[in-house]
């Protein structure tokens, strides 16, 4: 069954912990509950986005550095 990880906050979505580091997760990676899948920058402060689903990452629904709204799906997990 597919599920989605949503952004807890509005802001800018980042897939990497820092610009010179690899992404937290790639498509095809497995993800566990509580694992960090990205960061959301809101008003110059960074917040970790943790997974509330488990399974395999099927798709990123927002590109790196893309704007997101609170509750917007970021990742689909199967």
């Amino acid at each position: 069954m597919a599920s989605q990880i949503v952004s807890p906050l509005p802001g800018t979505f980042y897939r990497r912990p820092a610009p010179d580091q690899p992404p937290f997760k790639e498509v095809g990676d497995t993800v566990a509950k509580g694992e960090v899948i990205g960061l959301v920058e809101v008003m110059k402060s960074f917040h970790e986005v943790t997974s509330d689903a488990e399974g395999k990452i099927a798709e990123f629904l927002v590109e790196n550095e893309g704007p997101v709204q609170a509750g917007q799906p970021l990742v689909s997990v199967e």
Partner: protein, 463 residues
């Protein structure tokens, strides 16, 4: 040549503030904005608006080429950088000048000089302005460290040369501790920053942050007295005052004269601020750095001196000499500014963007509210959390505090959480009322008063 059309290369409350000063001088305003700021108050108030890129600041407000192109396209003859973003970027100032436009601020050379901590420290020493005793640049050897320690005494700060914003700082209280920490610090700095370089600096206990506002036209420099900005959280100022009530008049005179000497030595042009650490017990001040731009907290200075600092900047950039002589700058009464941020003080200052449902702005005598807010405005999450600055003025500090509480009680920003409850609690605190605080005081206070903030029924605290 006086400015005719000004491009405002910033956003938020400072863009609104700059636009107001410009229009009062008969200058046409062009507001540069990102896609996310198309409906901002600054855009609505400007004579013309020009989009410079998508929401992320890196693609808009930090995009030198886009801003210069927008200025040329809209017929602007000058660019005001505000604060933050590109305001202290010498390459931006140079790009503006190279395009044949006027940069509202000092030259790229001066920005570069004062932005380099070591160069600024050297310039200060040459102008006879005291700096914090410590190593001149990096520690070259343990022997060199000994010589520096003889000068600084203990406690002493060990700082990573590549660090910043408070990271990589250790404090040593005696020689044994210094020997132990200096190795730790070097190893850690190498791992964290790829650079194990260290420097040391005298630790000033319970230091206050005091800063002097100056204005220069390239030839003459005057000061507009000082501000006291010790109430900080995570090195961000949250509450500022003018004047600094802890200063005796003689010390105030020495401090302001020192600031003018340094600004004159670099032929300063525009508005600038010299920041000092103030050791209250010793009545000693030490230059730390210069900000070559307008500052967030400039209104408290405007309130006690009557000088319109932004108008001065625009006139100086237009080629006019200073409009005031030093002896014409009064220091009257007391002003306090508090920063109203979209943050929830009950939840460790979590950012809280949202839509403004109901806005009630305080008014009455001695009250000023510089803001980017209007009813129905959707606060974008992409930029900093400053929503506005509540500034009060009264004949003395106790009256200013009473006025601050009255004005905070009138403020309503429904739909978002704000830092107003923090300021109400601070205004009631006996230490704040006695002006007994230092730069690390608020952090301790926040730890002790977290439960109180959670319970404070602030004007914006109900859902």
């Amino acid at each position: 040549m006086p400015i005719r059309t000004l491009l405002i290369a910033n956003r938020g409350e400072i863009a609104v503030r700059i636009g107001r000063a410009a229009r009062e001088l008969g200058i046409r305003t062009v507001q540069a904005h990102s896609e996310a700021d198309a409906d901002s108050l600054a855009v609505q108030l400007a004579d013309e608006a020009v989009e410079i890129g998508p929401a992320p600041a890196s693609k808009s407000y930090l995009n030198v080429e886009a801003i210069v192109a927008a200025a040329k396209r809209t017929g602007a003859d000058a660019v005001h950088p505000g604060y933050g973003f590109l305001a202290e970027n010498p390459a931006f100032a140079q790009a503006v000048e190279d395009a044949g436009l006027t940069f509202v601020g000092p030259s790229a050379r001066t920005i570069g000089l004062m932005g380099d901590k070591v160069a600024a420290r050297t310039a200060a020493a040459e102008a006879g302005v005291p700096t914090v005793p410590g190593s001149e640049g990096r520690l070259e050897s343990p022997e060199a460290a000994r010589a520096v320690l003889a000068e600084t005494g203990f406690p002493v700060l060990i700082k990573a040369a590549a660090g910043g914003g408070g990271r990589g700082i250790r404090i040593a209280h005696d020689e044994h501790e210094f020997d132990r920490l200096v190795h730790q610090a070097a190893t850690e700095a190498q791992a964290a920053f790829g650079d194990g370089g260290l420097y040391v600096e005298k630790a000033i206990q319970h230091a206050r942050h005091v800063e002097v506002q100056i204005l220069g036209d390239g030839e003459n420099v005057i000061h507009c007295f000082e501000r006291e900005c010790s109430l900080q959280r995570r090195r961000q100022k949250v509450w500022e005052e003018a004047p600094a009530v802890e200063l005796r008049p003689e010390v105030r005179g020495q401090l302001c004269e020192a600031a003018v000497r340094l600004a004159r030595a670099v032929h300063y042009k525009g508005a600038g601020t010299l920041e000092f650490l103030y050791d209250e017990a010793a009545e000693a001040f030490y230059f730390i750095e210069m900000n070559t731009r307008i500052q967030v907290e400039h209104p408290v200075t405007e309130c006690v001196t009557g000088v319109d600092l932004i108008a001065e900047m625009l006139q100086i950039a237009g080629g006019a000499p200073l409009t005031h002589r030093q002896e014409d700058i009064p220091l009257e009464g007391h002003a306090i500014e508090v920063r109203i941020n979209a943050e929830d003080p009950a939840k460790n200052f979590m950012p809280f963007p949202g839509v403004v449902q109901d806005l009630r702005v305080p008014g009455g005598p001695g009250v000023r509210f510089d803001t980017l807010l209007y009813n129905g405005y959707a606060i974008p999450p992409f930029y900093d959390s400053l929503l506005g600055k509540l500034i009060v003025w009264a004949e003395d500090r106790p009256k200013a505090l009473a006025r601050l509480k009255r004005a905070l009680a009138e403020l309503r920003v429904e739909g978002v959480k704000t830092t107003a409850p923090l300021h109400l609690a601070l205004a009631d605190d006996p230490q704040v009322q006695a002006a007994k605080f230092h730069t690390r005081w608020l952090e301790g206070w926040l730890e002790d008063n977290a439960h109180r903030l959670a319970e404070t029924p602030g004007p914006a605290a109900q859902d």
